[in-house]
Symmetry: C2
């Protein structure tokens, strides 16, 4: 039932790598362009482009390769670095889930069972 | 160097438990009131009160006990449930850190070493 959402902060600079950037990389791999990936995620193209730019500056080699123009507009695909980052992030999520599962279950055992009406609530603060 | 920030979502309702709520509980334990805890964290009292209210509704017994008024205003302290929630969340963070450390290091090994100027950048998207 419970789940853990993680963000990884890398290096002294604290480069943030979270589920949003990873989902964008996966969408680029699937859709073949940044614009199509952004559209598929309901994300503004500019925001997607900025996330890609940040990922590309963060690592020693780019995560996303953009092929320029032509009539159909530019395509984009993941480099081996990009695929590696996705794979490692998903592996970290798996490790985290396994490591914390029993402790999360212990927290859940004390949820108030009388609160079914809060099923769809999702509050702000963490 | 790297670190992982987690948020735990509990139950079907997805009650969010993250570092912010946990730090607030710890501050209440230390400061002895919600208002002093909020002040120590630079947080609006109303926001702190809402987080406490949400925590108190979420579990089978309240996490924070508020003693009413008098001249000095009401005090607040953690119940055994509140202390248990803090302890378990910090334990989950420890497990997560141990489980993911080598994988995070593997990601960090490919950071661009030429980006010292980004030391203080902290971007939005995840």
């Amino acid at each position: 039932m419970g789940r853990i959402r993680i963000s990884v902060y890398l290096g002294d600079a604290g480069h943030k790598l979270g589920p949003g950037k990873i989902a964008l990389l996966e969408a680029i791999e699937k859709e073949g362009s940044i614009s199509a990936a952004a559209r598929s995620m309901g994300m503004a193209y500019r925001h997607a482009w900025e996330m890609v730019d940040e990922l590309n500056r963060c690592f020693d080699t780019p995560a996303v390769e953009v092929s320029s123009g032509g009539r159909a507009g530019g395509g984009a695909s993941l480099t081996s670095r990009g695929r590696d980052v996705v794979k490692r992030f998903r592996a970290i999520e798996g490790s985290v889930d396994r490591a914390a599962r029993s402790q999360v279950a212990a927290l859940e055992a004390h949820l108030d069972p009388r609160e079914p009406s809060r099923r769809h609530s999702r509050s702000g603060g963490g």
